[in-house]
């Protein structure tokens, strides 16, 4: 009898184990191995790769840039997503379904196609620069491709839906009468939003920012296309180690370091928000 739950969830557990835990475990083991240009991977055990990663300012810069991009993306997503979710929440059901479709629209397009679209817009001879030049607003093209700003822009575009949906879910959990109550007590629409609605969306902003931050920090295709070789982030560095340098153990060490760093940041953020709002939001 007690074996049945396990038996019934076995397919999912096996899938989860084979597809996630095994590769993760192998990457973890791989990160302790050594690498030699002539002999390839040497199955030893040591922390040399981690020492390389943590001791080299080159990697510190890449990690710093990655988290900077992720942080900026998360902040902008929250700034755009919260009002957007509130508008969505206030719309009539018919309009709401139309707008939800528009909001999740970016997710329906392949990441490569979407990013190449941004490349067309942002390039030195792209749509934006050409238009600005034709109107006589600028003489030289504004550099947008191969910059952190361009990457953040494209990441915000695709991650805003996650923030909107998370905040929207939080809004739907709240008592709809609270706004009417505040209004009846004399609050202006802006005060109602700032003092009543916004604080109640904090759990949504929290979960939305956790999703967006972790996805932005580990995103690959967008920085690879819009950042190229010049603006390297952790994910593209790992890719280069695996595919170009063929130094798999070093690549694995970088990947594991990213995983651990993202987890530490997420847990810290979660703790901070819970300590600030915990009692009110349980």
């Amino acid at each position: 009898m007690s074996a049945r739950p396990w038996l019934m969830s076995a397919p999912a557990l096996i899938l989860f184990g084979v597809l996630l835990l095994v590769p993760l475990g192998m990457t973890f083991v791989l990160s302790f191995n050594a690498f030699d240009f002539y002999e390839g991977i040497i199955p030893t055990t040591g922390l040399a790769n981690y020492a390389d990663v943590l001791g080299d300012s080159y990697y510190w810069e890449i990690f710093g840039r990655t988290f900077g991009i992720a942080l900026a993306t998360t902040a902008i997503c929250a700034l755009i997503g919260v009002p957007q979710a509130y508008i969505l929440y206030r719309l009539s059901p018919v309009w709401r379904s139309v707008v939800v479709l528009i909001v999740i629209g970016p997710l329906l397009i392949s990441v490569v196609v979407r990013t190449l679209g941004w490349a067309i817009l942002l390039g030195n001879r792209g749509v934006i620069n050409t238009a600005l030049k034709d109107w006589g607003l600028i003489e030289r093209p504004i550099k947008m491709m191969y910059t952190e700003g361009g990457i953040v822009l494209a990441l915000v575009h695709v991650f805003v839906p996650f923030m909107v949906l998370a905040v929207w879910a939080a809004l739907q959990r709240k008592d709809p009468s609270t706004e009417a109550a505040a209004e009846s007590l004399g609050a202006s629409p802006f005060t109602v939003f700032r003092r009543i609605v916004l604080p109640q969306t904090v759990p949504g902003i929290l979960s939305g920012s956790l999703i967006v931050f972790s996805m932005a920090a580990s995103s690959f295709a967008t920085p690879a296309i819009l950042g190229g070789r010049r603006v390297k982030v952790v994910a593209t560095t790992v890719y280069d180690e695996f595919m170009n340098t063929l130094n798999w153990p070093l690549g694995a060490a970088i990947a594991v370091t990213l995983l651990v760093a993202v987890m530490i940041i997420m847990i810290t953020w979660n703790r901070l928000v819970e300590r600030r709002y915990g009692e009110a939001l349980q």
Partner: protein, 355 residues
Amino acid sequence: MAFLVLDGLTKTYGEVRAVDSLSCTVEKGEFVSLLGPSGCGKTTTLQMIAGFETPTSGRIELAGRNLASIPARQRGLGIVFQTYALFMHMTVRENVSFGLEMRKVSGRELKTRVDRALEMVHLGALADRYPRAMSGGQRQRVALARALVIEPELLLLDEPLSNLDAKLREEMQLELRRIQREAGVTTVMVTHDQSEALAMSDRVVVMNGGRLQQVDSPFDVYETPKSSFVSTFLGKSNNFAARLESTTDTGSVLTSGGITLSGPRASLLPGAAEIAIRPERIELTGPEQGIVSGTVRERIFLGAQWMLAIETAMGEFLVARRNSGNREADIGDTVHLVWAPQDLRILPAKEGARS
């Protein structure tokens, strides 16, 4: 001039007339309930008074001011919502302070007034708690304190007790009435619970299908219902189609199900009518005094009383019998029913019914 005047208030949603030319008045300091089944328009009426809905036509006047052009946040009404609508991210004190902060009250005065409001609802000790850590009854008190602290001219209660369990609800009825008296605030309560409306109100406004059915004191609305709907909605009632044969100053003669009955003086013209009699006014008696005889079909024991369903020539009667400690008539027994003629209520026949 009454304190609150609703005059020809109408609200339509497309083809549906949610509230249909409702007119009534509330005096200063009075506690009036809007009572009716769900969908009768009582909540819509409250929403229009509060300013959350705009009337299609008609007028709302409070203390001589027409409320039409005044937005909800400037009406200065205290509202207790069905879900309480507490600000979950604020402490009890912050919840209660909110309305005063919006009125730019601050410092010592703010604290004094909030303390006084919390004291009134006996929550002084819990001021720094969050609503999530409170029981339903306590949350309701917070909602009440938050609505009263702004010293509103009018207090609106939207099904304030419907989320409480039965025992707590009875306690809160008394408590709510005490607080309302203490604050001396004119109050309009919306409820679908007839016992709540009877227990708490000075007057009851009975509504059905968007229309006003009757406005009276709880006693009068129960004792002298003016329509079949009011008689059955408030308390239990045995209603039968009947025919008013004749009426004089001293009494009337009716027939129902082939049985001749005497009743009080009727204000109707002879013809089709409806009679209503409360289950608690019917006695069981011997065969010679019985007005109508029947067979017991069901018997339910409720502790303080028995409920009997009795099949008769007129139709099925519901009879309430006080539990006097003796054995009650059993299922299948033949019994004889009697009541005083003045306990019979003669009502207009239901529309479409002919007898």
